[in-house]
Amino acid sequence: MDITLRVNGTTRTGSAEPRRTLADFLREDLDLTGTHVGCEHGVCGACTVIVDGRAVRACLMLAVQATGSEITTVEGLAPDGELGGLQQAMWDSHSFQCGFCTPGFVMQATAFLRAHPDADEQQIREALSGNICRCTGYQSIIDGVLLAAGREHQG
């Protein structure tokens, strides 16, 4: 089936059989390998992207369902190479180690901070509890999100 959608601000077209997940379509058909596949059953969150403004697990959407959507992947946050505020804060906070879970966290946190710029630590922990990291114990990730939120406040 033909698919036309906007990804990171650009119109992209492709073709996929119905069973192909959005995660596989983004990675293999559109060469956007930043979105990672960690479990393929919707638990680990590594495949999180933003679809029409909402954080979504790309492994739980079919590519054909995304036709007509506006999607942001991790590659879309720093298109000209300059890190966005959240990414910079995560860099400053040593948020990550192996990096495999990272795009999912970055996208989930991006969506969450847009909707809840004043979130406290507990709220951030709950919001990110659907993303699994095996390396960090989460504290450094939370610190990165808190730092980003704090800097936004300072303007």
């Binding site: 089936m1 909402r54 697990r57 739980l60 079919l62 369902q65 969450f112 659907g130």
Partner: protein, 325 residues
């Protein structure tokens, strides 16, 4: 994910069975684990009547794709093998929340996050509002739908217990028989099985608005934040002049369907809230239950926790009722 055992009889087979339209009888573990979806046809109707025509045509061979948060994992694990997916995400008329008199109608495709953010829902069906944030995680609720969760009917999920506690009504339509309204008590038939006929589409779920003096509580015991409940409880108490005039208790996770604790409800009627009363209600609610056992909890464990949740849930609901009076 415990389902009925495969009928192949082969030692070690882990093929899963459930109801019609969800799973085939074939032993599917023999080549597994596999995690890419199997081949499937796909239709994306734009209106309810188109969807109904497709359902009438494909019946058991079709699965309705709503939010996909439950169905797509089943497909990925190759535990579900429909011939065709009927994707109803494009049918706009299926979304929305509206209030008429004392009924709140929630379109089947209303996203869980929309219902969660809805001040209408918070104001009219507080028990539903209390349960929604416990469903999975934000990203799940971005896509998951009220109707989808209730049609999937996982007995450990939050919404079936809420619907059963509130005697919600399920509105289904088919091209052959028109519209049918099914009570919650009749909707949940078995594990992942509802009384929806293969040619029917769930279009709307109707919840009663909470009356004055009604306090609610939704609590669950899960392994981690956002997980399915090992045991969950939807509770509502209505107090009139300090006396219980209505009591609702529905469990998640203690059977293959959500379960109303009617004996306990009857005990509570007409009584004044007290710790001793709630203890007795807990005993009545759990004395006869025989919950399933799995990796996460034994039957004995779930039974104990169910009793704890009744005590805690009633305490919370009573306090909440006090605040709302």
């Amino acid at each position: 994910m415990v389902v009925g055992a495969c009928v192949c009889g082969r030692n070690g087979c882990q093929g899963r069975l459930s109801g019609p339209g969800i799973l085939s009888n074939d032993c599917r573990w023999i080549e597994g684990p596999l995690m890419k979806l199997p081949p499937v046809d796909y239709e994306a109707p734009e209106t309810v009547s188109e969807a109904l025509e497709l359902l009438a045509e494909h019946l058991d061979e079709a699965s309705v794709l709503a939010g996909g948060q439950s169905l797509i994992p089943l497909l990925a694990l190759r535990l579900a093998r429909p011939a065709v997916l009927i994707d109803i995400n494009g049918i706009d008329e299926l979304s929305g929340v509206s209030v008429t008199d004392d009924t709140v109608a929630v379109g089947a495709m209303t996203r869980e996050y929309v219902a969660e953010e809805s001040t209408t829902v918070a104001g009219t069906v507080p028990l539903l509002a209390a349960a929604l944030p416990l469903i999975g995680h934000e990203a799940i609720r971005s896509r998951g739908t009220i109707g989808g969760s209730l049609a999937h009917a996982d007995p450990a999920a939050e919404l079936p217990a809420v619907a059963l506690a509130l005697d919600a009504e399920f509105v289904v339509r088919s091209s052959k028989s028109g519209e049918r309204v099914i009570s919650a008590a009749e909707w949940f038939e078995g594990y992942l099985t509802t009384s929806r006929r293969p040619d029917e589409l769930l279009v709307e779920v109707r919840f009663p608005t909470a009356g004055p003096g009604t306090g609610i509580s939704f609590q669950e015991v899960a392994r981690r934040h956002g997980d399915f409940a090992m045991v969950g409880l939807a509770a509502a108490l209505t107090l009139s002049d300090g006396t219980i005039s209505d009591a609702r208790l529905a469990f998640a996770g203690i059977s293959d369907v959500p379960v109303r604790a009617s004996e306990a409800e009857n005990l509570l009627m007409g009584e004044r809230p007290s710790a001793a009363l709630f203890d007795e209600a807990a005993r009545r609610a759990t004395g006869d239950i025989d919950p399933p056992a799995d990796l996460h909890g034994t039957s004995e464990y779930r039974k104990k926790v169910a009793a704890t949740l009744v005590r805690r849930g009633l305490q919370t609901a009573a306090a909440d009722a006090g605040e709302r009076q």
